[in-house]
Subunit: 440 residues, 2 copies
Amino acid sequence: MRLGLTETNQPRVVIIGGGFAGLAVARKLQRSEMQVLLLDRNNYHLFQPLLYQVATAGLEPDSIAFPLRKIFKRYRNLTFRMAEVTSVAPAENRVITDIGPIDYDYLVLATGSRTNFFGRSELADKVMTLKSIPEAMELRNLMLENLEHAVLVEDLKEREALMNFVVVGGGPTGVETAGALGELKRHILPRDYPDLDIRLLNVHLLEMEGRLLGGMSEEAGEESLAALKKLGVKVWLDTGLADYDGEIVKLTNGKTMAAQTVIWSAGVEGATLPGFADNLVAKGNRLSVDQFNRVSGFENVFALGDLAAMTSDDLPKGHPLLAPVAIQQGELLGENLVRLRAGKEMQPFNYRDKGALATIGRNRAVADLGRFHFKGIIAWLLWTFIHLMTLVGFRNRMVVFVNWLWNYFTYDRGVRLILKPFDRKIPRQKKENRKSPTSA
Amino acid sequence: MRLGLTETNQPRVVIIGGGFAGLAVARKLQRSEMQVLLLDRNNYHLFQPLLYQVATAGLEPDSIAFPLRKIFKRYRNLTFRMAEVTSVAPAENRVITDIGPIDYDYLVLATGSRTNFFGRSELADKVMTLKSIPEAMELRNLMLENLEHAVLVEDLKEREALMNFVVVGGGPTGVETAGALGELKRHILPRDYPDLDIRLLNVHLLEMEGRLLGGMSEEAGEESLAALKKLGVKVWLDTGLADYDGEIVKLTNGKTMAAQTVIWSAGVEGATLPGFADNLVAKGNRLSVDQFNRVSGFENVFALGDLAAMTSDDLPKGHPLLAPVAIQQGELLGENLVRLRAGKEMQPFNYRDKGALATIGRNRAVADLGRFHFKGIIAWLLWTFIHLMTLVGFRNRMVVFVNWLWNYFTYDRGVRLILKPFDRKIPRQKKENRKSPTSA
């Protein structure tokens, strides 16, 4: 296996991850005198904030993904390789991947975050998670298959279990998912399933803390709670998931309920790669970085966004896991690498807080913008506009816009399809010779 | 397991398949005094004529599928069940399904067609086929993964094999697929893969006969050949696939070529169900029917569209396997069932030939309409208009239209994504009690 890069004396920047942070670095480096290699396990950039709409049949998966090669086609100094990075050997300035080892001069870790089960890995094959397109499509399939199945079962208890949707975690993902499920229950499912008593369909949202949207203002928490209740979502505050065996949900308050669909949105952790000492890994599995996003103890290794714990006395937990942080850190790092090459000093990171938004069904959202707080239709329009504008690619924006207009005026969701994976997989060529040197 | 139908004295019509034919019957029966039960293994209607555009990254899968329950929500006498029919017991007026046995008064077989390997079933796990959305998505994945892999391989021969696309069969599907691949090669891939020598990418189209589009006019065949050649597609007439072991394609003319992607569009056959005597199965695995689409020897079993062999002296092969035939037969059967219940005579089927169309890349298509023949941009606009109008659902039409406009003006294909299936499947509840009686 060869890496196929052109030989050059320019320093090589390896970026792991084509999310918000990785793309921002690449964009800032596109006119630099550096060779940039971006690795991602997928061939697309994923717009994660709208994943829950794919899972709840509001958007097609393809409209929130954008081919990375298309973004990079005007970047002359950038090479893209679809690869899975298995570990980092920072002492040797090398990353180990499924297409071979790759040497770097500068390493940018922009791997984002992954689902955190808080040590309860036995839940992993029982609950649904929402961090990727395959997961969102599987949740859509599972939910719709359970309803098709509910039509057929004789036993009322069994039918209730198929129609019980439990969302664990009252952060933005949990709140938005529960809201979208509440809308499905109210507007779509009664018409689609005249043969089901939709009153049996229940959406539960569990939150360990005493309020929703802990990262946002008090008002946002209260308003999202009121909006969810209006949609018929049963919100359980101060209540977590004690146990789930695939059939029965046990709550921390001792109650139990039967549910075939449990969605775990209780938390994420940094998607660290093996190769860094334990003392570099801070709370939430994030890598400790300095003000320049440099991983502690290294001159040429950087971590960004969700993966980076840039803590200070004012900010003991580091920055929130939000797209604006990732984008701003990525842009600054790109500029700093250029400064570094020019012998100039790097600039420290200062987060320009763009606020936070969450939506709960049609016409309802909450927004914290600096000291200002918005709710209702104004916040919802703001949410809609910002998400449309942040989507990569005009085609995606148009398709999402058409879908949203459609959903809005018809109270419909067009894509409630059960798309099963292909069951007769054509074997791929093996990735051989993984050990061959790939420095050029 | 229960079927969950309301008890009624009305006769029960069971329709197997929610394609063009099945939908047409259901539509004509919606105000009849009959209980209609439609079964499909998927929960959506698939617009098959555009599957090749999903496979070649021109359209998202969700835009050519439409939820069946949404179509039926205004049909008061119709019940939909997602079920796989395993066999028919016509002597007992019963179909056997994975949700239990189901009794009928009238049975409508509208299962369409499936890929025909002409007895060479060993090809099934080596070639790609194009009859369903999962297959189209798998082809898109395979093609894009092979290109990502081609970037990395050292060996030139191996790289050529990864960049060789062989389409088998020069009917409409084969011609349209080869044309779309030719366009990808010309407009998209050189910009996406600056690290590949796109001259190594070859699209081959194999056709056993001496001409393309055998079902259309001579002119259509010649023009499609010229259009494909202009796009750089290598067309092999009088040449078939002799053998393929997953690596080397052997042609019937003795030549060989290495190819990792072989697309089988050489033919289809009726998707018959077990339960009918061999003498009822005509050429192409279609069920012999009379002028009323009644399966020979039965009063209350009907077969439609691709599945039906309605032969006569003028028409020894039966009607062509086209959507208009399926729709017209379905509509007539719906009307005939109403006539039958009213004690009136059924009307025989007369095909109103709507002509045939095929498209070969941008601005190029061929159309046979009665004695008239169109080509070039007029035929292409006609093709575009007819396909848009035949798509079910305004949302789908809008999304397809946006995509086509985008693809047309930008020479782009927005959805070249490798969407892998979810690898950690949540177990579904078993479908139990399959033997329980389900007459009501």
